[in-house]
């Protein structure tokens, strides 16, 4: 490489070894980490030559050389996190400041009998056998370097386990708040929904201040037979932050998982979402909304694997681009041999509001069975002239008419968000983004 970038990958490997040496961990966790260290040492950061990273250049992350906070670092000053609360939600709340659990800001009340909601660090002590059986099990063999990085250095995150037949009505709100400059944050979450259980979880990423940092998060979801899981990932990092996330799920017989990926912030964002429909009757619904403005780069890769017959998948991702925003969508659907009666539908729509924005969309179908119903659609376009004219004729200003239509476009995704306080929150963010006037330049 011509750029004399610091050899960040090598430094990470060094830190991995240092931590590995001092940690007194169970054998299974050591093995898990060791293989992740080896994998990261082998893979390093993804390169653009790799088809999966064709449109996303992660060299800025490498150059910035973000470092994990030392294990014995002083507890950070507690910021005011009240603005990030979801009003009207009374479920348990976990708050992590720079990756470390903050007991004073969290509230673990309201957890019904049969449900465990705690930190991953706690679960490693209190439920080691459950973790040994699940942690790292849902990550594909061909995973990239960032996933190995998370596993090699994982220390804390959220652990949720809902026992068979338990229905948890109130959503779990997990807030990852960043305050430290130059930090590498590695949240790791594990969600286990046992038979006939039900749970809703909100992963919320935000920051206090305008410093640069890097969140590399990883979530694994296991939905046992007939379980219902609703997962929200609200990415509202600051505009100088880097965010790489992975959500990996295994969906079993007749279970149903719904995910909502809401990307509002971040400078360079890459999300990998992978759903394996591992037994018949499984269902997954993937919704996504991404707003890219200024110089934001948001890359969403989704991968739905119809491994068994009679499964259903629905995917609906929409993007609003303004300024110099750049977005990537790649949605892959694989129907394995023998996965008959698979029903997959995927739609990606992009609204381009400025001259300098760029949207790349790659819906992909890979089908090895014949009795299937699969379709995908992708569009890139602008606001409908007729609709604009209609609103203008009703005395709305041009800017207002554009805002209204843009809002309506995004609303179609938000309408699927069942958690009302969250929906309201994102709507406000959307409205604020438009009032800043970003989309109006489109008219120039």
């Amino acid at each position: 490489m011509s750029n004399p970038a610091p050899d960040t990958a090598a430094r990470y490997v060094q830190v991995m070894h240092e931590r590995h040496d001092v940690a007194r961990e169970a054998a299974w966790l050591r093995t898990l980490r060791e293989s992740a260290v080896a994998r990261f040492a082998d893979l390093g950061f993804p390169l653009q030559q790799d088809e999966d990273w064709k449109y996303t250049d992660v060299r800025p992350i490498e150059r910035a050389a973000f470092m994990p906070l030392p294990l014995d670092a002083a507890t950070p000053r507690i910021p005011d996190a009240s603005q990030f609360r979801l009003d009207g939600v009374s479920g348990p709340r976990l708050v992590f400041i720079d990756g470390r659990f903050s007991a004073p800001l969290s509230d673990l009340g309201g957890v019904p009998r049969g449900a465990t909601v705690t930190t991953l660090a706690d679960a490693l002590i209190s439920q080691p056998q459950v973790l040994a059986a699940h942690l790292g099990r849902y990550i594909p063999d061909d995973s990239h370097g960032f996933i190995a990085l998370n596993t090699a250095l994982l220390s804390d995150g959220t652990f949720v386990r809902i026992s068979a037949g338990t229905r948890m009505e109130q959503p779990i709100h997990v807030l990852y708040l960043a305050t430290a400059n130059g930090a590498l944050l590695l949240p790791r979450n594990l969600i286990i929904a046992e038979r006939d259980s039900q749970v809703t979880i909100v992963e919320h990423y935000a920051a206090v201040g305008e410093m640069a940092y890097f969140t590399n998060s990883l979530t694994e979801i296991f939905a046992a037979d007939n379980a219902t899981v609703e997962h929200y990932r609200v990415q509202d990092e600051n505009r100088t932050a880097f965010h790489v996330s992975g959500v990996h799920m295994q969906i079993n017989r007749s279970s149903r998982v719904t995910t909502h990926a809401l990307d509002l912030g971040g400078r360079l964002v890459r999300n990998d979402l992978r759903a394996v429909l591992a037994d018949s009757g499984g269902e997954c619904h993937l919704n996504g909304l991404y707003l890219a403005t200024d110089r934001q780069h948001i890359d969403n890769h989704t991968h739905i694997d119809h491994a068994q017959s009679h499964c259903t998948s629905r995917e609906f991702y929409r993007g609003v681009l303004s300024g110099r925003g750049r977005t990537v969508f790649r949605g892959r659907i694989i129907v394995r041999p023998g996965a008959q009666k698979s029903d997959a539908r995927q739609v990606n729509n992009n609204l381009l509001l400025s001259r300098d924005a760029e949207a790349d969309s790659q819906p992909q179908l890979e089908i090895y069975a014949d009795d299937v119903m699969c379709s995908h659609g992708a569009t890139v376009g602008q606001l409908d002239e007729n609709a604009l004219f209609y609103l203008r004729a009703r005395a709305l200003s041009d800017a207002d008419a554009r805002d209204l239509l843009t809002f309506a476009f995004a609303r179609e995704v938000l309408d699927r968000v069942r958690l009302a306080p969250l929906r309201a929150r994102v709507e406000l963010r959307l409205a604020a983004a438009m009032r800043r006037g970003a989309p109006r330049e489109a008219h120039a």
Partner: protein, 482 residues
Amino acid sequence: MEASSRDIETLVRREYKAGFVTDVESDAVPAGLSEDVIRLISEKKREPDFMLEWRLRAYRQWLTMRAPQWAHVHFAPIDFQSIVYYSAPKSRDDGPKSLADVDPKLLETYDKLGIPLRERELLAGVAIDAVFDSVSVATTFKDKLAALGIVFCPFSEAVQKHPDLVRKYLGSVVPYADNFYATLNSAVFSDGSFVYVPKGVRCPMELSTYFRINASKTGQFERTLIIADEGAYVSYLEGCTAPMRDENQLHAAVVELIALKDAQIKYSTVQNWYPGDEQGRGGIYNFVTKRGACRGENAKISWTQVETGSAITWKYPSVILEGDNSVGEFYSVAVTNNMQQADTGTKMLHIGRNTRSTIISKGISSGRGQNTYRGQVKVLKSAEKARNYTQCDSLLIGDRCGAHTFPYVEVRNPTASVEHEATTSKISEDQLFYLQSRGLTAEDAVSMVVNGFCKTVFKELPMEFAVEAQKLLGLSLEGAVG
């Protein structure tokens, strides 16, 4: 002093010459590729220096390249040193003496396609009656075209007779360093077609390789160049529905189309090379680079292809839409049966204002065939109000085949509008039942449903071609439904 230098000169030249003479005499160039082989090809074709230099540049480039791996196809690596890159034009005695000597299976196919006897002989490579040759339709057509100023000849002839045109346009759409197989083609291409339609001329007939069959055999590295000058129109047909006798396994052709202002080029292909047997043994590897450039305003390039043959097809006819208001179209039917693999699609590159493109792709997989659509629509910043519509549908017959869709949509202009739609489904049991209950056999029913599925593409083909293509489709899918 003068004398001695002349001596040296002659000496040098003689050695140089002699090296080739032996080769020419033996007329059997050993398998493999080297600069000498390229010099020899160029020499034998009596090409001007610029062609040789171009070939050599391509060859040197090719040495630095690696075969692409991204296509969704699997095959054993090709040994490029085992290929014979030049064989002297075949003498007529090589072919079968009469139709009685031809493989009866091939004859059966001709019969089903309803191909006239005379053409069957041509296709099977039967030595052609000299009388027939001299009064062939082709000659009559050639006179008619010449009167309009249209140049339609083998590529090697164009290099001799129209070097300026060749020099100006060759490699201007597909540069010699474009990709692994195109670069190989640039170095060793054997022959192909050259078409030039002058300003404002509308070519009165469909130009077809068919008419050129009495000319030289094109070989495995075909190179075609078609230029439509301002306001010209030409429709070109490539290939034919009947299976051709062919011994070469690797085919790496390059086709370049250039449409200037207000010009229109329509390029139709029916490809039905040997697909290999049911176990996937043998069969042609068809790795083709086809690209057209709309160089002026209102230019239009339209690709229509029916791909039923070859063991592996790797082909993306593309259009570069440079001129304002230019139009690109791509209509495709790709069929894979048995062990066939196809990775095909198109690229539409929007550069000019108000450029429009349409992509209609129909993929049919049966047996253990793998059919992939891979297409790119790229709208650059300058392409104000660019418009694209893409539809790719896949039909699956049988539970061991695969259909894959990999579109790439890249948009950098907010006034552009790009749509992509794709569906994949099984052939409808209800439709088959309906047709069979009305007395159609299972095979006829499948053929009818498939033809309906492909109708939007077939209607783009010239009429006679369309009729043949329909029959061909039925044949390709034979045995797909038990």
